[in-house]
């Protein structure tokens, strides 16, 4: 277990290094940071002065390791647009995105696990087929359009829910549904497949033969085992949701990291864009690392491979 964990950790570190490198190179190749910092009205001499002052005239690898080194201690530089430290900005915005992601994940799991269980109890029944058809339809629904349609229906026609802002928990209902529904088919299929496999196993037959009550067998014996792969998929999906929140936060004007990303991207605020891409990648890498370690802990066969 220790060897596996260390190997996995080393891989994660290598991925972080590569991702940060790609992010740094892409953003630096796109526009001249000195020009972006100086603004449109700056003269060539001003730009040169800024280039010297900020160290943009140094070789790119030197700049990269300088940037990475400060990023490691949480120092991402200053936002060009707002003249404030990027780290402070991120800390302000992160709670909104985290709440949104958590709500979206909770919504997806609460919807898909019961559906998956019911579908697995009677494969090819009406419930099963409706659930599968819904997942096919849902997969073709553009997230942002679904969000807009919800705004029209629940925000404008029925007036049940607020359509923008992040003041109360009601503000998170529609964004969480819009962000979460896309993950439900995957969760549902995995729960269904896992349950079908587990329900056919010997220990379930034993549990039934002992005369345990059907709900006990179903929830304590079957679901517990069937849900393990769902947990690791949930970790991965949470990472995807943080990335996907750009679109949803922009539509609902939720002032989280995604909205900040969109604002910074449209105004070429490079330090902020770099920090957000790195941060979200880091979340994903840590989440998948934890999911892998959890899986290895639960299933010894994985450790050997």
């Amino acid at each position: 277990m220790l060897v596996y964990s260390l190997k996995r950790l080393l891989l994660a570190c290598l991925v972080v290094l590569t991702v940060s490198g790609i992010t740094f190179i892409l953003t630096n190749a796109a526009i001249d940071p000195a020009k972006a910092l100086a603004g449109d009205s700056a003269s060539a001499a001003d730009i040169d002065a800024i280039r010297k002052a900020y160290g943009f005239d140094r070789p790119l690898p030197v700049q990269y390791f300088d940037w990475l080194g400060s990023a490691l201690i949480g120092e991402f530089g200053e936002s060009v647009r707002m003249r404030r430290p990027v780290a402070t900005l991120l800390l302000e915005r992160l709670p909104v995105t985290m709440s949104l992601g958590a709500c979206a994940l909770a919504f997806a799991l609460l919807l898909s696990i019961p559906l998956g269980v019911v579908a697995a109890l009677k494969p090819n029944s009406a419930v099963d087929r409706v659930a599968l058809s819904l997942s096919v339809l849902g997969q073709a629904l553009p997230t942002f359009w679904f969000a807009l349609m919800m705004i029209i229906l629940f925000g404008v026609i029925l007036r049940w829910l607020p359509i923008s802002g992040s003041d109360t928990w009601l503000h998170f209902v529609m964004p969480a549904i819009a962000l979460g529904y896309y993950a439900t088919p995957a969760f549902m299929r995995l729960t269904r497949a896992g349950m079908i496999e587990v329900l056919a196993s010997d220990y379930i037959r034993t549990a039934r033969a002992k005369g345990l009550r059907p709900p006990t067998v179903l929830f304590k014996h079957a679901l517990r085992n069937a849900v393990i792969p769902v947990v690791s998929l949930a970790a991965v999906q949470f990472g995807f949701m943080l990335g996907g929140s750009v679109v949803i936060e922009t539509i609902f004007a939720l002032h989280g990291v995604g909205f900040l990303a969109w604002e910074s991207i449209s105004r070429s605020d490079i330090p902020v864009v770099q920090a957000i891409v790195l941060l979200i990648s880091l979340f994903y890498i840590v989440l998948t690392l934890l999911a892998d370690l959890l899986n290895a802990y639960l299933d010894p066969r994985i450790r050997v491979a």
Partner: protein, 310 residues
């Protein structure tokens, strides 16, 4: 979608199946698969719409008209007796008076072009990496797995938005960026099916009689994995179309005045409370196109899966 009931229709008693022969059997399974047929028909209509846009569209999709701005679609005339709605602009007009139906028809072109071109680029990258990793294993496999892990940990929407915005947004840029971002699934799936095909007896036989490695990969392995390739290709094509729409919706994808459905949604956003149909129609088109591609992919998977065979 696993729809066993639908391909039951293509299932025959073994003796009948033998009498039919493989091609007739495949044809039977395809025509017996209802959701696959639906996907083929809808996608065919969308393709025809895109290819023949010039002949079908009633108006020029770029022609603005100040006198006919924000006309509602025809059903507003039937239900609310709206005098502005009429047969001249069946689905109404947008905020600068361009015919909505014509723009929707031309929009199919952009979505299909982006979906197809992205699929080709990402398919080439992903299949090459996946087949190499699956066939050679060892170090090659380690490198490819690392590349896939790295790619997966970069948030697609965010990176695509940033790159398109920083390098300048255009149709070609969107295709390139998406093509270089969406190859991971190709690599993962092609790697695992190649690994399975690599150890098949006739591949070993080909190796034993001295066939070259490129020959084995192209002639022995590829025909075996082409079904999986088609399935992944449809998934990624649908994915690319949805991503383009999202990028264009955020104003950082395809640029005006091109009639991209995502861009139309973006332009209609400010009118969404007064003219909700402007939001509804392009979304329905997107939904139909993506659904038909997904149904095609799921159908191909069902029809070619070994358990669907007799």
């Amino acid at each position: 979608m696993a729809a066993p009931a639908t391909f039951d229709a293509g299932r025959l008693a073994p003796e009948r199946a033998l009498a039919l022969g493989p091609v007739a059997l495949l044809r039977r399974r395809i025509f017996g698969h209802r959701s696959l047929m639906l996907g083929i028909v809808v996608l065919g209509l969308m393709l025809a719409m895109g290819l023949l846009a010039y002949f079908i569209a009633p108006h020029d999709p770029y022609a603005q008209s100040l006198a006919s701005r924000r006309f509602p679609p025809i059903w507003h005339a039937w239900i609310w007796d709206d005098p502005k709605a009429g047969w001249n602009n069946v689905l109404g007009t947008d905020k600068v008076g361009r015919d909505y139906l014509s723009r929707l028809i031309y929009g199919a072109r952009i979505s299909l072009l982006i979906g197809f071109a992205t699929m080709v680029i990402s398919g080439l990258i992903g299949t090459t990496l996946g087949v190499l990793a699956g066939y050679f294993g060892g170090r090659v496999d380690m490198v490819v797995t690392f590349l896939v892990t790295t790619r997966l940990s970069m948030p697609v929407v965010l990176v695509a938005l940033a790159v398109v915005a920083l390098f300048g947004s255009s149709l070609e840029m969107v295709i390139l960026v998406l093509g270089f971002l969406l190859w991971d699934r190709f690599a993962v799936v092609m790697r695992s099916v190649t690994m399975q095909a690599r150890d098949l007896d006739y591949v070993t036989a080909a190796r034993a009689i001295g066939c070259s490695t490129p020959y084995i990969i192209v002639r022995e392995i590829m025909p075996n994995i082409v079904n999986s390739l088609v399935v992944v290709a449809t998934v990624e094509m649908a994915n690319a179309i949805l991503l383009e729409a999202a990028l264009s919706f955020l104003g950082l994808g395809v640029q005006p005045p091109l009639p991209s459905w995502g861009l139309m949604l973006s332009e209609a956003k400010e009118d969404m409370f007064f003219s909700p149909w402007m939001i509804t129609l392009p979304g329905i088109c997107l939904f139909m196109l993506v659904l038909s591609i997904n149904l095609l992919g799921d159908g191909v998977r069902d029809v070619t899966a070994p358990e669907g065979r007799n």
